[in-house]
Amino acid sequence: MAVQKVQVTHNGTNSVGQLYLADVGRRNSLGGGVSIYEYGQDQYLNPGDTIELVATSQVLLSIDRGILYTFSSGNYAGTLSISFV
């Protein structure tokens, strides 16, 4: 492992379809050149998808209290499975 990452799997439970992880996405979408924040981290997950995210502070916050939490341990527990890889 060269960079700490989080693996997210959409288990397709609870009738939840495509998920947009808005809270791990864009930070600087206004003006200027494209910065590092604009690529790689905004993710759509379809049922059955498995993705890997760089474990940035946004991703960790989402796991703790954001969208990733809601669909893994919160109101829609089990929809997403999350593990550090």
Binding site: M1, A2, Q4, I36, Y39, G40, V54, A55, T56, Q58
Partner: protein, 203 residues
């Protein structure tokens, strides 16, 4: 993370920090701005494993530099205190874990003026899977000033906290290597400026 330039020309990494004075950014990004985004020819820099550094390593300019072998990287973690230190039996144990191997414990020399060179020498004797050195390139811009006094201070317009002191350019303990480095529960952590459980996040 330690970034080494394998070429004979300086390489600027544009996506780990733009370094613009006054630009709003988190403290960690700010620290990297204070550090450097230029990797000197045939030299190296140590930077904090901030979000930007992680993303650049995975997706950005650092990745591109590695893919083209212009850059190589290692895990690194840097302490936040400089010597000489007062070390005795209560603060002379430094522990690290490399990857998932057994925790390594180092008994540092004691005294009222233990230098970083003394500490580096001691750890180097038995360090396995990583190396240590006294930092040279972590905080090195001319305007970097550390806070030396956190007490309340009266000013002309009110009270403030923190007083700036002389610039600190080098002298921190750097641990670096090819596997993840995790700081253990040694009682020297506070003295050397490490925190138990801190670990390297990218290389």
């Amino acid at each position: 993370m330690r970034i080494t330039n394998t070429t004979s020309k300086d390489i600027t990494i544009h996506d780990i920090d733009r370094g613009n004075a006054g630009e709003q950014k988190g403290i960690h990004e700010f620290w990297n701005a204070k550090a450097d985004s230029v990797v000197p020819a045939n030299g190296y820099i140590d930077v904090l494993d901030s979000d930007r550094v992680m993303l650049s390593t995975e997706l950005g300019h650092i990745k591109k530099g590695k893919d083209t072998t212009l850059l190589t990287t290692k895990y690194s973690i840097t302490g936040r205190e400089v010597g000489p230190f007062i070390l005795d039996g209560t603060n002379n144990i430094f522990k690290v874990q490399i990857g998932t191997s057994a925790v390594q414990s180092f008994t540092l020399p004691t005294g009222t003026s233990v230098t970083m060179a003394d500490i580096v020498s001691t750890i180097t004797i038995s360090a396995t899977g990583f190396e240590v050195e006294e930092s040279d390139r972590f905080f090195r811009t001319s305007f970097m000033e550390n806070i030396t006094d956190y007490s309340e201070i009266d000013g002309d317009l009110g009270k403030g906290y923190g007083q700036r002191g002389a610039s600190v350019l080098s002298g921190f303990l750097v641990c670096f290597g090819d596997d993840i480095i995790t700081i253990g529960d040694g009682n020297a952590n506070a003295t050397l400026g490490f925190t138990e459980g801190d670990f390297t996040k990218c290389k």
